[in-house]
């Protein structure tokens, strides 16, 4: 089954593994960024994202398609998981255990990526040039040289855009936390 052109509603309504996997790939960065931003803790964000997608997988039979509702449904689960974790002081793993999913230990690189996803929640307000440079270097993990070549500019300019973009994003996080 090709899933690339299907809507979120189609993917959640499908009962096959490939549909859910495509749904996961569409939303995982956003969900991780949401948790990273709200918790400030990459490990907790990863646990909450795992539990959220496990709950979505187990509960997708109860989802009723309405145009544009799939994202809201997923974030409804996410916000409940976050509230539970804030109340308990840790992320529950009930749905992961039910589905036989093991806890994933994070590497330093994973932590850096998740933290960056949390920061990119704020990238939308950045100037386009800085946002694109930060996205290319931090999220897509591309080298400065490769980005510079693609944008037809010097590596130093790309480095400056990334640096300024991240600095602005960090200042915003500081103000909002």
């Amino acid at each position: 089954m090709r899933t690339t052109t299907l809507t979120d509603d189609d993917l959640l309504s499908g009962r096959d593994a490939a549909s859910f996997e495509a749904f996961y790939l569409r939303h995982v960065d956003t969900v991780l960024g949401y948790f990273a931003r709200r918790t400030g803790d990459a490990e907790l964000a990863a646990d909450l994202a795992s539990e959220t997608f496990a709950a979505a997988l187990a509960g997708r039979g109860r989802y009723r398609p309405r145009s544009g509702a799939a994202g809201a449904w997923l974030f409804g689960i996410a916000s409940r998981k976050l509230a539970d974790a804030q109340r308990r002081g840790y992320a529950e793993r009930r749905m992961c255990r039910r589905l036989g999913m093991e806890r994933i230990e994070l590497t330093d690189a994973d932590i850096a990526t998740i933290e960056a996803l949390g920061e990119t929640a704020l990238l939308d307000g950045l100037p386009v040039a800085q946002r694109d440079a930060v996205h290319a270097h931090v999220i897509e993990e591309r080298g400065y040289g490769e980005i510079a070549e693609e944008l037809d500019m010097s590596e130093a300019v790309v480095r400056k855009r990334v640096s300024r973009g991240l600095a602005t994003a960090r200042r915003r996080i500081g103000r909002q936390s």
Binding site: A17, E21, A46, A54, L99, T107, D108, A109, R142
Partner: protein
């Protein structure tokens, strides 16, 4: 050599979704059987057993008759060995597989496909990629057993294949390095090296003690490099700047640096016949190591494993998140032409090894899948 968090979660969700899918389909079939069939009798039971055996045979779960040559690659075995499997290797007349559920090595007789020895190694049950991480070569089986946390002190174990006993167990703590995040053991010119995010440690092949440490340069503020691999004379490091830095194994000095031209490269395999690049999203390419130019480039699904090279042919496990079953793909190293693509019965591939004529693929769900290549 490693997968990031989102990929590992993707794999876990895929397997959970497939289990649900199978459970749902089986439930529906059994419900239909109950609704349509008369009360069970011995005859009905035998009939059902016969149907199940036929299904298992069709899926390749039972092998009838002797060895056979095939005109196209063919799955000739799908054998459950444990709850979870990790890395796999072949040597000393056996196939060795990491049981990452119980932190032990399983020694498998390739002829009967039965486990003939279980060797406890210890390790972190939640370790990145699963413990132990095994390698066969330099006269022994080598296993890495980590402590919880990516930077925890890990041990390297040397296992004697004649006795299946652990003959050395050494903590990897290189002199001059504050920490060592080990990824695995590589055999370079017959000598074992423990390779990690901070460099490589040459090990004594008998005692497993450190002989020397070859550190690599990691830019300040950058996370670990993406990939480290040894050639006969050099250590190749794929940096997050998408460059391959080379270090001479003899002097430890950096001898060169080359940009990588395949976007989002996450793995580099320097074969004597040509260097292969692995992309994050299922791309594979052959690179000219003198100038970095790509000789060819192919996309095989959305995620690929680490290939093995046999007689100029690359074999690589490929998944396609949108296209269903995983496959074992055979590629001509020279041209990149796909020679065959074999559907695999299990999802996920964490290790690939050659035993005799056959290729063994270990799956995270605990099966080994055995593929017999065609006779070209």
């Amino acid at each position: 050599m490693s997968q990031d968090f989102t990929t590992r979660l993707q794999l876990q969700l895929r397997e959970a979704a497939l289990r649900e899918e199978r459970r749902g389909a089986l439930g529906r079939r059994l419900t239909g059987l109950r609704l349509a069939a008369p009360p069970p009798t011995a005859a009905a039971g035998f009939a059902l057993a016969a149907v199940l055996v036929a299904v298992v045979v069709a899926l390749g779960g039972i092998r009838w008759g002797g060895e056979e040559a095939v005109s196209e690659p063919k799955v000739v075995g799908d054998v459950p060995l444990a709850e979870n499997l990790g890395t796999i290797g072949a040597g000393f007349g056996s196939v060795w597989v990491a049981d990452t559920d119980r932190q032990r090595v399983l020694r498998v007789d390739p002829r009967t496909r039965r486990v003939v020895a279980r060797i406890a190694t210890g390790g972190d049950p939640n370790a990145f990629g699963g413990d132990p991480v095994i390698t066969v070569g330099a006269g022994a089986l080598w296993a890495i057993a980590r402590r919880p946390g990516f930077d925890g002190g890990a041990k390297v174990l040397r296992i004697d294949p004649r006795t299946n006993r652990v003959t050395a167990r050494v903590t990897l703590r290189p002199k001059g390095a504050p920490r060592f995040s080990v990824l695995g053991v590589q055999i370079i010119r017959g000598v074992p090296w423990a390779v990690g995010a901070q460099g490589a440690i040459e090990l004594d092949p008998v005692t497993a003690e450190e002989r020397r440490f070859l550190p690599i340069e990691v830019p300040s503020g950058e996370p670990y490099p993406l990939w480290i691999m040894g050639t006969d004379t050099e250590l190749w490091v794929l940096t997050r700047e998408q460059r391959i830095d080379r270090y001479a194994l003899g002097s430890g000095r950096r001898t060169g640096s080359l940009p990588v031209r395949l976007p989002a490269t996450v793995g580099v395999l320097p074969y004597p016949e040509g260097t292969v690049l692995l992309g994050r999203t299922g791309e594979i390419a052959r690179m000219d190591p003198s100038d970095g130019r790509l000789a060819w480039r192919r996309t095989l699904g959305t995620m690929i494993g680490v290939p093995v090279l046999i007689d100029g042919t690359l074999w690589v496990h490929a998944s396609d998140t949108a296209g269903g079953h995983d496959r074992l793909v055979e590629l001509d190293l020279e041209t990149g032409t796909v020679r065959s693509s074999t559907v695999l019965p299990q999802f996920g591939g964490v290790g690939l090894a050659r035993s005799g004529d056959d290729l063994w693929v270990s799956s995270p769900a605990g099966h080994v899948m055995i593929v017999r290549p065609s006779r070209h």
